[in-house]
């Protein structure tokens, strides 16, 4: 073949090879590593959709222009953004390209014999000469064996090497980082995450429609949900009487799983486990149990209505929507577990427990817009097209009557927000993390070193070499020498 034809082909291959070499070079890896650290910063300063959805929405209303630009650069989803992904994918490719060849090399080096004893030992560090004969070499061999050195015995000299654990640990560490990444991706592809509010006394059946919100990984779906039922028997929130801060949350549940029924307790740090699915106790609040009657006294609505807590003392807001009444009725309400009247703020709660509960509301009539098909919050009512018919408040057992009917507060039950998480990749990530630490320890504390010994007509010669100028070889050689001399 003529050179003219070969050149472009070689050029292309050379270009790829050059690019690959650049990407897997230590300098590139280092730059990518620092870039990843810097790229993570905006996500901690700008609210993120995954951690603070509300703040993101707020920014869109308070500063829509800025929010629009943030959104264009994925600054609300930094950790799933194309540019962040690009950095870590390049980093991991670079890492793999660096670690795999080194692993092969290291494997070969571990199986190979230590290098031949250098001719001139006196040029090396820790060089010593002393009197001794052939028996010195036997003692040396014995010492090397006892201290697990790998040796090469050639005539009148021994070359010994130890400390491969350093590079082994180094490679193990980097390989386990890959395992962690695999675990993370596996979890996001095959995992699931959902939330559901359950009132005390209610039963949660694990099917997709029971969730208030649920999302599945790209490669899984509703069919993956394990079959179980959770009945919430009781919930107790304990609070510090001085600071009002929560001390403990406990939920007692009855579980039906594969035909067997048993009781369990869920706490904040003690989730339930069904295979790889775990159920967490995440939030709690109160549900006033109300009965709403129309003007004739027929029950139009009955049951617990979850209210959304607004502060540490669980002052909550909510809406009671009665689409079956004629006309439709809506209550824009707030609920306080321990009522205290202030002159300027209306009702406030002064303690998170149910010491003096009170439900306050304004009553509206008209079309609630529930049939329009557009989604609306269960906690709020759009009153722009409604007519206000009254204002009132009730304590448990009390009934408030207005021209279109009446509302009775029967009792108040707590609700809990259960979070359901299936992360099949987390055990890989955990194993990766444990191996990473082990690898890190042996790579940072491991010392690779060589020791040589040779008998000559003049006596015995010893020298050593520590890689990365790791300390401690001098002491080791002292021990070695006294072993050869037969002092130990």
């Amino acid at each position: 073949m003529s050179k003219e034809i070969e050149v472009p082909e070689l050029g292309f291959l050379a270009l790829i090879r050059y690019a690959w070499r650049q990407l897997t070079s230590m300098r590139t890896a280092l730059i990518l590593l620092m870039l990843m650290g810097i790229a993570a910063i905006p996500g901690s300063l700008i609210p993120q959709r995954i951690t603070n959805q509300i703040a993101v929405r707020e920014l869109f209303t308070t500063n829509p222009d800025l929010a629009k630009w943030y959104d264009r650069f994925s600054l609300f989803d930094v950790y799933g953004s194309p540019w962040f992904s690009a950095i870590y994918i390049l980093l991991f490719i670079s890492l793999i390209g660096c670690v795999l060849p080194r692993s092969v090399e290291h494997y070969k080096a571990m199986r190979a014999q230590p290098p031949v004893t250098p001719k001139n030992l006196s040029r090396l560090e820790h060089h010593q000469e002393f009197a001794g004969g052939v028996e010195s070499l036997d003692r040396a061999a014995l010492w090397f064996k006892k201290n697990r050195f790998r040796v090469r015995i050639e005539g009148n000299s021994i070359s010994a090497e130890k400390g491969f654990v350093r590079e082994t640990g180094n490679l193990l560490f980097h390989l386990s980082l890959i395992l962690i990444l695999v675990g993370v991706s596996f979890g996001s592809l095959f995992g699931m995450r959902g939330e559901a509010i359950v009132n005390v006394g209610e039963r949660f059946v694990n099917v997709a429609t029971s969730y208030d919100s649920v999302s599945f990984g790209k490669l899984t779906g509703e069919k993956s949900l394990p079959t179980f039922e959770i009945k919430l028997d009781k919930f107790l929130g304990e609070y510090d009487p001085v600071t009002n801060a929560p001390k403990d949350y406990t939920a007692w549940v009855t579980i039906t799983d594969n035909g067997s029924t048993y009781k369990k307790v869920i706490k904040v740090n003690k989730p339930l486990t069904f295979g790889s699915t775990r159920v967490y106790l995440q939030a709690n609040g109160y549900s006033p149990v109300v009965t709403v009657r129309d003007a004739e006294g027929n029950v139009a609505l009955q049951g617990p209505i979850p209210f959304l807590p607004q502060d540490g003392n669980l002052r909550s807001i909510g809406s009671i929507k009665v689409p079956d009444a004629q006309p439709q009725i809506g209550f824009v309400s707030s609920f306080v577990p321990t009522n205290a009247r202030t002159s300027d703020q209306g009702a406030v709660s002064i303690f998170p427990e149910l010491l003096d509960p009170k439900l306050l509301f304004s009553i509206w009539k008209g079309d609630l817009g529930l049939d329009s098909g557009s989604p609306q919050s269960v906690y709020r009512i759009d009153t722009s097209k409604l007519e206000k018919v009254g204002l009132g408040s009730v304590k448990p057992g009390e009934t408030f009557t207005y021209p279109e009917g009446s509302i009775t507060l029967e009792t108040v039950v707590p609700w809990v927000n259960l979070q359901f998480v299936d992360d099949p990749g987390k055990s890989y990530a955990l194993i990766g993390a444990i191996l990473a630490i082990l690898g890190l320890l042996s790579s940072l504390y491991g010392r690779r070193r060589r020791i040589w010994v040779r008998t000559t007509s003049a006596g015995v010669e010893v020298a050593g070499l520590a890689k990365n100028s790791a300390p401690g070889l001098d002491v080791e050689i002292e021990n070695f020498v006294s072993a050869i001399k037969g002092e130990k």
């Binding site: 230590m26 300098r27 890896a29 280092l30 590593l33 620092m34 990843m36 650290g37 993570a40 910063i41 996500g43 901690s44 609210p47 993120q48 995954i50 951690t51 603070n52 703040a55 930094v78 950790y79 993370v184 995450r193 510090d240 600071t243 801060a245 929560p246 001390k247 403990d248 949350y249 706490k267 904040v268 740090n269 003690k270 989730p271 775990r278 967490y280 995440q282 979070q419 998480v421 992360d423 987390k426 990530a429 955990l430 993390a433 444990i434 990473a436 630490i437 890190l440 320890l441 940072l444 990365n468």
Partner: protein, 304 residues
Amino acid sequence: MQTTWAYISNYCVYSAMTIFTISFIAHAFETAFAVRAPEAADSTEGNLLLKTLDYKRTEKSARIATAMMILGFILLLAGIVARGISNGHVPWGNMYEFSITGALAFTGAYLAALRKYDLRWLGLFVSLSVLLTLGTAITLLYRNSAPLVPALKSTWLVIHVLAAIISGGVFLLANVVAAAYLYLDRLESRGPRPVWLQRVPSLDVLDQLSYRLVAFVFPLWTFAVIAGAIWAESAWGRYWGWDPKETWAFITWVAYAAYLHARVTVGWRGRRAAWLCIFAGSTFLFNYVYVNVWGSGKHTYSGL
């Protein structure tokens, strides 16, 4: 009973501050008075180099300085233990408690390193920064003893926070050494060191020391992050969620990983390495101060 222990804790912390002040003064005295002025006879005009160091003259104050440092450490430890008894749980629930424990870890790291290296030149700085930390903690961050919020009720609190605080103490010590390196490096580029700094080890030793400290504690920091992830999995339903604290812990980890690679693989030494070390340490401090005080997220509890 609870309040009694809280008072005991406060008295211990106040006394520790007094003791650290004495230590600081003793260190300052040693630094200043070890310099022997030239004898009138052999003094050539303005030649600073004729001044000599004579640590025998200040042996006593040096001993007092270190002894006070140890005593301060013990008192602070007692204060933290008493705080724990008054709380009914390990005293790592808010920033005041983190800060006094951090000061303890910092003093501990210094005293431990002192056994191996001649680090007494650093004592002046260590006692001063411990004093500043304790002062800030008492005046700005103090909160009454309180029970833990439910999410913190876990064995992982002890493991995760202890690992993080010790790592922090050692990281900051490495930072101080790196800063000393940069300062001396600048001084030396203009001429010989002033006499009172002659005791500080050579630049090479400082360079090695800050690296050793980081390499020693980096696995512990890795462990602290992983322990946090394991805890987060059982408390919040995910092991990693890019909460601001988690993000900055990650950034710190990446920064120190970059530092270790730069030193071991690329061979960075001296000025560049020191700057990288200081940058990495600053991300740790930033995480502690910014995320706790101004940040949002799941790591903010009970006010501060």
